[in-house]
Chain length 445, copies 2
């Protein structure tokens, strides 16, 4: 078994294969020297909360090799020869395979901004990019930074650079930051950024970065462009792989491409979404799951990737924002008849010290009552992450909003309420729908 | 509609009735002057983390009355006359009803210990008991206290009294503290108590408390006996209500007793457990749910109580312990073929500061793979409470242990891992079962 790519999907595939059959010959080819790195952890290395970059590895090279896999570091795969069952790498060497797993990941989107190649302008995706930025901070001691983009990584980098004492300006083309949640919650993220000293400019596009890092009429000491990623699917496409949404490699739920004996997983493939079908959702959690499925099936299994719900959480300074499932407009597009209701509840009994309010937005289907999506915002100690996971488990199982109140959730005053916040949110949704249809609600409520 | 009892079940029934039909005449009769009090919060008032006992009320009398219900405080119900549809209270007054909800709760178990009536010996259940203990602490400044019992409330009171500067000795008859979780996790709770200065004596029974609060050869300044509760079902039983397990009032899943127009809910009734059927599980969360069902059905509804999983969490100083579903021996008794596997994982990526290990015990059915129960122990900031709730949602929906790995859970390094701890626990269970049956595991995993 050969794997191209040493990040989440590729390593997960290799690990699962080694776990299922230690006798299998598993080789992983990767472009750089950093296999199994947690790229989600990069902002915390930049901020110096993680002091040693080596700690960002989920597993060290030695740990990976102890599982039985062989790693070919600094090795770029140039061509897949499907008929010959071999992969040609830099220098012309051909590595043959019985089964191939493609985990080539994603690459940063280069927006149509003039001057992206100027000194002091950075894109952020790989450990190489990370070292370049950290070196720039250390050598040039920038006082100001512009971050173009206010998605997850943009926000985390705003926090990281602020933590390093740099005055950060964050520009977002859309009307509100964190456009993956509703603007009502995005506005709360915006307020947290502002409260921590980040200058936030929404609805603001950057056309050009001019020499001296001049943007509009202001200059910056450092510019970071983080506006998302696109699938890195060229290698597979050149070999004849069919592409799907957003140019990602088309795979079935067993992570098989259209090419014989070629699997693919992670940020380079289309993702099955449980409510939307085929979509593109480059997330580490998904890459781990898909890689594990690909590794298992490469060894003869028939496991299916169960599908994503787009569950995500991000910490912004002292707050956290999370979502799972569909937002209102996404539900409309998917053919549902959604109602979205906002509400608030305490993370634990307010009489016990340290309680925090949680802002919630529930989206459910008006006609069936089915829970479609939940978005949460609150303090980072308000168990936002695991509360969104309760909702994710509910949506995964096709529960109605009303049935959330039936869940037997835990309670003690320092850590919850007799009706948990996630149940308060469900009940607020139910009340709103009942008010909307008084004739149908009534006594059987 | 008349409700007997002003605690969780009774007030939930009254609130739901008022919410569904504000025109309904709803009266709540309660023995004391403290409706809708959070008795789970009592330890935090004793510890002074809650400074004003009034804050322990989920809602004030004024808030309750604003919903339309009438409260008859300090009113003891003496007899239910089912034929006449009336309840006779102290003084002989008869209050008539169309529908009655009995929420008489539970009373503390008085163990067979000599000297329970001595001055300085306390049972703990009501606000009256609470005031007596707080007064004793303030007036007598006890230096030492003995707590008999190491269940949830016993542990919380050990923390509360320690916080007040009292040297606490905790005695438990069983071999380990917190007997509602496996002794492997109970031992971790034990260690936390000991680390905070509580003297823990397990496997130790108290026969008698002698004058001067002499127990064995030691004297204490205060003795607290908290060894559980039993249903307070006499009033309903005297009226002809059938009793079930542990003498609790028998009800169907619509919370109807065998008596016409009489519903019952909360700590006085048998509880439908989703995996065990009829059981006795006096918990505030359950009382809220059952009360809400009773209130809705008293107004003509037909909602069913979905059932409990015995989900519980308790904070012990800086740690938390939680469980949901069945432990191994409970699963055996219920006819399953359980395997229980212990494992450990980080609450979030260890490279990000402040991570904590979570100790987990998963119980699943060997033949079907069904998840039956989960127990967790870890730091109180390790999102133990909401992680047990993910497991509770999974068991509620009949998921297999293996399918936990399919859940799309949230991830960011400060708040989780690409495979969440609850998924690590599931994978550890799966691996152990695969190792046990190598012939059946193999490549299809």
């Amino acid at each position: 078994m050969l794997v191209i790519g040493g990040s989440d999907a590729g390593i997960s595939a290799a690990l699962r294969a080694c776990e299922l059959d230690p006798e299998t010959d598993v080789t992983v080819v990767l472009e750089d020297a950093y296999p199994n790195f947690s790229i989600c952890g990069i902002p915390y290395y930049v901020s110096r909360e993680v002091s040693d970059w080596r700690n960002l590895a989920h597993r060290s090279v030695a740990e990976l090799e102890a599982t039985g896999m062989q790693l070919r570091l600094d090795t770029v795969a140039r061509r897949i020869d499907v008929d010959a069952h071999e992969v040609v790498v830099d220098g012309g060497e051909a590595i043959d395979y019985e089964k191939l797993v493609v985990g080539t990941g994603a690459v940063p989107i280069q927006p149509p901004i003039e001057g992206l190649d100027l000194d002091g302008v950075y894109l952020l995706h790989s450990m190489g990019d990370t070292f370049a930025i950290v070196r720039a901070i250390e050598e040039r001691s920038p006082a100001t930074a512009l971050i173009v983009g206010a998605g997850y990584i943009g926000l985390e980098m705003a926090e990281a650079l602020t933590t390093r004492g740099i005055a950060v300006t964050q520009m977002e083309q859309l009307p509100e930051v964190l456009p993956t949640v509703d603007p009502e919650l995005g506005a709360l993220v915006h307020a947290e950024l502002a409260a921590r000293g980040v200058e936030v400019l929404t609805g603001t596009a950057v056309d050009a970065i001019r020499p001296g890092l001049l943007v509009g009429e202001r200059t910056f000491d450092l510019v970071l462009v983080v506006v998302g990623v696109r699938p890195n699917a060229e290698l597979a496409a050149d070999a004849g792989a069919t592409l799907g949404v957003k140019g990602a490699i088309a795979v079935d739920r067993q992570m098989r491409t259209n090419l014989p004996d070629v699997f693919a997983a992670g940020d380079c493939v289309v993702t099955h979404h449980r409510l939307l079908g085929e979509s593109y959702l480059p997330l580490g959690t998904t890459a781990h799951k898909q890689g594990r499925v690909a590794g298992e099936n490469a060894l003869g299994g028939s496991r299916e990737f169960a599908g994503s719900l787009g569950t995500q959480v991000v910490k912004i300074f002292e707050q956290a924002a999370a979502r799972t499932g569909l937002r209102d407009h996404e539900a409309v597009a998917a053919g549902f008849d959604p109602v979205t209701v906002e509400s608030e509840a305490d993370d634990h009994k307010a009489y016990y010290p340290g309680s925090h309010r949680i802002r919630m937005r529930y989206t459910g289907d008006r006609s069936t009552g089915r829970l479609l999506g939940v978005q949460l915002f609150g303090h980072r100690h308000a168990e936002i992450a695991k509360r969104i996971d309760i909702a994710a488990a509910a949506i995964f199982n096709g529960m109605t909003v009303d049935a959330i109140s039936d869940l037997d959730l835990s309670y003690t005053p320092p850590l919850g309420s007799p009706w948990d916040a996630v149940q308060h949110g469900a009940q607020a949704w139910k009340r709103a729908v009942e008010r909307e249809r008084p004739a149908e609600a009534g006594r059987s409520g």
